[in-house]
């Protein structure tokens, strides 16, 4: 059990290839922290520096109070679950889980107790003598978890552990992992490129792009208050609507409509107006915040209805009441909830409100 601190951490492969830039984040004890970002943004590298699999070019990583920059991977008291699971193919499930304990020269009865305990938690009791190749994807994934659990580590590192599972199993495992986190009362650091996983599992989320940390916060915080254009576009599905706009006195003017802003911005400021599909409603409460949408595609999902169309030439997605009758080709009048409007500076891409 321990906190983890990244303190101005940099990873440089060559002089002009820096894949993690000035990375600062503090992960609290027993927290479930999700590191999320598009593929190739440096998440795995950040995790692998903590694991001791990559050297740290600059800065400090601390586990608890201990600086681990020069500590060997095996002495960092962490356990890692790989995307490929990295099970030893020639060893039985039991031996796979016992291996890290044997490396610590633990006594056989103790090893046995720990392996049995982990396999009970994970429901692997009946598979202990099997080889990994005789297991399903989900079972393999659990063996990989088991191998981490038996070590009783201070920090669990998971690098895209669900991406080799099919959609249904992924949903189940997501819940099981959260339960596991609660039972083990250990710090989890979880890397994924999937924003749904990040939103559903993380106590807090750290979003990365191109080696740079964009924002850290609770899922709700990040969803409601994205710090910049990248975060706003990355989190949420369908993605947030982005419309080029110019700030005026207390309002923002886009090509096809004008809305009142909850906060006044400098007049003439150019930027991007952002609003989530659910901020567009079929009830127009205020004529000042209405927009005319020419609908191209209607998607009915039972609980939701998505309208894809054009507002003054800009593409907009709206999530409206499923009972609203709309057909492709219609032009509908929709309202905009001004409480969930975002405005991003055209130069810095930072959120101005």
């Amino acid at each position: 059990m321990a906190s983890v601190t990244y303190d101005h951490v940099v990873k440089r492969y060559t002089a002009d290839l820096t894949v993690v830039k000035d990375f600062n984040v503090e992960i609290k004890d027993k927290e479930f922290m999700v590191l999320v970002g598009p593929s190739g943004c440096g998440k795995s590298t950040a995790l692998r520096m903590l694991a001791g699999l990559e050297s740290i070019s600059e800065g400090q990583i601390r586990i608890g109070e201990r600086v681990v920059n020069d500590v060997a991977a095996k002495d960092r008291d962490i356990a890692m679950v790989f995307q490929s699971y990295a099970l030893y193919p020639h060893m039985s499930v039991y031996d796979n889980m016992a291996f890290p304990l044997q490396m610590q020269h633990m006594k056989k009865p103790d090893i046995d107790k720990r392996v049995k305990n982990a396999s009970r938690i994970l429901g692997l009791d009946n598979f202990l003598q099997r080889k990994p190749r005789a297991l399903s994807g989900g079972q393999r994934q659990r063996v990989a978890l088991g191998r981490a659990i038996v070590r009783n580590p201070k920090v669990f590192l998971l690098d895209e552990p669900l991406s080799n599972l099919d959609a249904k199993l992924r949903g189940q495992t997501r819940i099981e992992l959260q339960k596991l986190h609660r039972d083990l009362e250990t710090t989890f650091i979880y890397v994924t490129h999937d924003q749904v996983e990040a939103m559903t599992m993380g106590d807090r989320i750290a979003i990365m792009n191109a080696g740079i940390l964009q924002q850290v916060g609770t899922p709700g915080d990040i969803y409601d208050h994205p710090a910049n254009l990248f975060v706003a576009g990355f989190i949420g599905s369908p993605t947030m609507n982005f419309v080029p706009a110019t700030a005026q006195n207390g309002s923002a003017k886009a090509a096809g409509f004008e809305v009142k802003l909850p906060k006044s911005l400098p007049a003439g400021k150019k930027g991007t107006l952002g609003f989530r599909p659910e901020a567009v409603t079929d009830r127009v409460t205020d004529e000042g915040n209405a927009l005319q949408m020419k609908v191209d595609v209607v998607e009915r999902l039972g609980s939701d209805q998505f309208l894809y169309g054009q507002v003054g030439g800009d593409s907009v997605t709206a999530r409206v009441d499923p009972r609203m009758k709309v057909d492709p080709g219609d032009t509908v009048k929709l309202g905009l909830d001004t409480r969930s409007l975002h405005f991003f500076d055209s130069e810095t891409e930072l959120a101005l409100l």
Partner: protein, 303 residues
């Protein structure tokens, strides 16, 4: 990989009489014809040798072996009894084993360690050394005889002093470049994640080698053992050059070749002798062939 792509991939073969089906049947047939053809071409000379080994001398020297396949049949075991009677066959078998087993075990063992270092350990000049080593494959073995023999004599590593040791050493030297090359390529193809996982689990370099690399490389090592064993068992030249042809030290190949008189008489005995010398390689091959086939595939096809 995904379930969906597997589903897409199968159906064409199961629906008969479509153009795809015909194409597949045709190309499969072509493949079989080619494989059988190649196999036949390779087998025919061996078959000829086998038939000849059962033919009496007068037939043997006057007509082709295929004539023996039609009546009147005239077969004899003379050639085999001739070989058995000829001389110290037991001693030769013993010598062959004495040469072949250490000359297989030593280089394969060294190669396994070296290949592990070349593929998974970082050290200065690694790629350069590896390249130099692979370059040694191009050195013709005959060109090394004189310098090595001179060195051996200077060092006192002659057969009178050390028996087969000198021969083991040269076979080790000749075998290592290929052995290291083959194993390093195989080791390198093992997934990186396994090594990283083992590192986090606390396994040291030697533990990783013995508990992970070796067990996963059984097919490659078995193939290598077969290669090396066959090469040394069938070797005539190197043994003759380094230990000479006296009966006390000559391996089977040398002894059998000596059956033929200096004027070329009794050369029909060679046919039977050839089959004699094949017995052990065949036993080795068939007992390890399970791994051999897998080992050949292992480099190209994953898993």
């Amino acid at each position: 990989m995904t379930i969906a792509s597997e589903r897409v991939a199968t159906p064409a073969a199961e629906r008969p009489f479509t153009p795809e089906w015909l194409g597949q049947v045709f190309s499969k047939g072509l493949l079989h014809v080619a494989v059988i053809g190649i196999t036949l071409v390779w087998i025919v000379p061996t078959l000829g040798l086998l038939v000849s080994s059962f033919r009496p001398l007068d037939q043997f020297s006057s007509s082709g072996w295929w004539t023996a396949l039609s009546p009147p049949f005239k077969f004899t075991l003379d050639n085999y009894t001739g070989v058995l009677d000829a001389s110290n066959l037991g001693q030769s078998f013993f010598n062959s084993f004495m040469i072949t087993i250490p000359a297989t075990v030593i280089p394969v063992t060294i190669a396994a360690f070296a290949a592990y270092a070349f593929s998974w350990m970082k050290f200065w000049g690694r790629d350069m050394f590896f390249l130099a080593l692979v370059g040694l494959l191009a050195v013709p073995l005959q060109a090394t005889f004189v310098p090595i023999l001179t060195t051996f004599v200077n060092l006192g590593l002659t057969p009178e002093n050390v028996g087969f040791v000198g021969l083991w050493l040269v076979h080790t030297g000749y075998g290592l470049p290929f052995a290291i090359y083959l194993l390093a390529n195989f080791f390198r193809a093992l997934p990186t994640d396994l090594f990283e996982s083992a590192e986090i689990d606390g396994a040291g370099t030697l533990t990783v080698f013995f508990r992970i690399v070796l067990p996963l490389s059984v097919p490659a090592i078995a193939s290598l053992i077969i290669f090396q064993f066959l090469w040394i068992w069938n070797d005539y030249l190197v043994a003759l050059v380094y230990v000479g042809g006296t009966p006390e030290v000559a391996p089977l190949t040398v002894t059998l070749a000596n059956l033929v008189g200096s004027k070329g008489q009794d050369y029909q005995l060679l046919t039977a002798a050839a089959f004699f010398s094949m017995i052990v390689p065949l036993i080795v091959f068939f007992s390890l062939q399970r791994y051999f086939v897998r080992g050949i595939l292992a480099g190209s096809v994953k898993g």
